[in-house]
Symmetry: C2
């Protein structure tokens, strides 16, 4: 592993190396059997569409930073990425999304029923990989890690339910606080907080105070999600890999939309509220109009500033979170990810 001397090359290469490690572990753990074309093939699809590997990298780097080896945290990192894939398959169905990582979503490829079932299988696989992977850590630490993982799953399910409930029931009176509550649950717990906490628990053999990491992960995850909201409006289709303006079509309550709803003049606000209670198809014809309002009312720079502010809060929380770290170059990778999550283009 290279040192932190090269601010771009070093951690960037380390992130890539961690992603490769996690992918190799996932590949090693993907099951084969029959029916291959209806189950084992489809379940391997998303895990093999190379993502950012952010969750795995956070887990591996944090484990290393707190005194473990990357190998110790590899099953947990793979399990978190598999759970992520499971969520993506079901999210794409729930949202009616068309594209994922540059290719058609699984339910468009396999049909909804087989995609749903493959998503279930990925969730079972994630649990399998985690519980067999932590069995070597001893009963008490192993149980604690399973508890952490399960808690993150519950927060994610809650966040997902909130987001879907807001859309189904046409909820539009939402503050930035409501948005942040959503994001902490639907994104932060499984994307940043759990990978950090689980990595630290494994690396320190259960001996580290996790509160600083939770605080850091919360800001890091929020910066990540707000950047995702932004990329959905401002990103390039090819690098982003999802539908541009897809969030608007699906009626997702992104930070941009929450801002727009709070500052738009009454006539615009009323038209937006009606549109959010309409069908995806009806919204489809008005996407450019909504995107125009986001520009007109400054929602894009608002969200960009917000993401920057939250990233700064993450950077400020970093030193306390990683004070007990024993391997500086691994901690440095985590620090690097703060800028990475807001500067990324995918």
């Amino acid at each position: 592993m290279s040192s932190a001397a090269e601010p771009d090359g070093g951690p960037g290469r380390m992130l890539a190396a961690y992603r490769e490690m996690a992918l190799a572990e996932i590949e090693r753990r993907l099951p084969y059997g029959e029916p291959a074309s209806w189950l084992y093939g489809p379940l391997a699809d998303y895990p093999r569409r190379t993502g950012k590997g952010l969750r795995a990298a956070l887990c591996l780097a944090t484990c290393a930073a707190f005194g473990g080896t990357e190998k110790d945290a590899l099953p947990a990192a793979a399990a978190i990425e598999l759970a992520h894939s499971a969520f993506l398959v079901h999210d794409d169905i729930e949202d009616g999304s068309a594209w994922r990582r540059g290719r058609p979503t699984l339910h468009r490829q396999e049909g909804l029923p087989l995609a749903l079932n493959a998503g279930d299988a990925l969730a079972v696989l994630g649990f399998d990989v985690l519980r067999t992977g932590v069995s070597g850590l001893g009963g008490r630490l192993g149980t604690r890690i399973l508890d952490e993982f399960a808690a993150a799953m519950w927060r994610t399910l809650e966040g997902q339910a909130l987001e879907l409930g807001w859309r189904r029931d046409g909820v539009t009176r939402l503050s930035t606080c409501d948005y942040l509550d959503l994001v902490v649950r639907k994104t932060c717990w499984y994307t940043t907080i759990a990978p950090l906490r689980i990595g630290a628990l494994i690396g320190s053999w259960g001996g580290v105070d996790l509160r600083g990491l939770t605080r850091f992960g919360l800001f890091l995850g929020a910066a990540f999600q707000i950047t995702d909201d932004l990329l959905n409006v401002t990103g390039g289709q090819e690098s982003y890999g999802k539908e541009i303006l897809g969030d608007l079509r699906e009626g997702k309550r992104t930070l941009l939309l929450v801002h727009l709803l709070s500052v738009a003049e009454p006539a615009h606000r009323q038209a937006l509220v009606s549109l959010l209670r309409a069908s995806d198809a009806e919204r489809d014809d008005r996407l450019d109009w909504v995107a125009g309002l986001l520009v007109e009312y400054g929602s894009i720079p608002f969200a960009r500033d917000f993401a920057r502010g939250v990233a700064e809060a993450a950077a400020a929380a970093f030193p306390a979170a990683f004070r007990p770290a024993v391997r500086p170059e691994a901690a440095e990778l985590v620090r690097y990810l703060v800028d990475y999550v807001v500067d990324r283009t995918r």
Copy 2:
């Protein structure tokens, strides 16, 4: 608990008592929190729609038969019923079913996205209940039970994939063997084999040979599923709780349909094959025609005889499976279930 002296009253009351125990345990383990109306409420819906409780009863009775107390197996029994509820929620989406246990399916009630998410939550809850429940059994036995549970989940996912794949791709060249392979995976493993094996492992503290139970569970589960296929055609809407002829509408390859396809004269067979490749809506208009063919070609008595034959095989396999049993009245309940699964009306 009453003795086996009353062939109907005794085991029947015992089955009801076991169902109540499992329901109380599930009720005790159902989580509360926010969002209640979008997650914690919907996830409790199917578990509270009283089912037969067959899976829980098998697990509790087998544990007791092999020397444990019912309480020892209660978390496992609850976990199996919760996994069953999770499967039902997702199955109903995959099949586009309208009714479940006498009420609208969850996705018709909550919309597909929130129902899908609630199904995910039920699966997470099942794992949670099981892993925390077996932690008191010691690491080695606990791990073995988690392995059994996971293996049953995988077989179920495979069976579900087979069934969905056959329908999506219009597969109609199916023998009785293909049907039985499907049923062993989609039904037997989690309905009978896993409850029996897990119950026996807990009751005997891991000391019993499971092969006889697997064999018995295989026949019992097949008899259960074929009876379900029959009830879908011949049952009363009210007692059955699902749509009568729903399997035909959904194009499910039931034993009745597999028989019909194999014996129908070419013109009928060709028309059936076309209909199975049509949409659910197109099939909806021809349900009575297909039901008429099932009568004309004797598919209903064929399936009834088949179920009886498989139940007899289960009865024949019972003594060897339960030879090491130490509590006869608990074993007697399991024996009673052989007749129960084929004689039931729901």
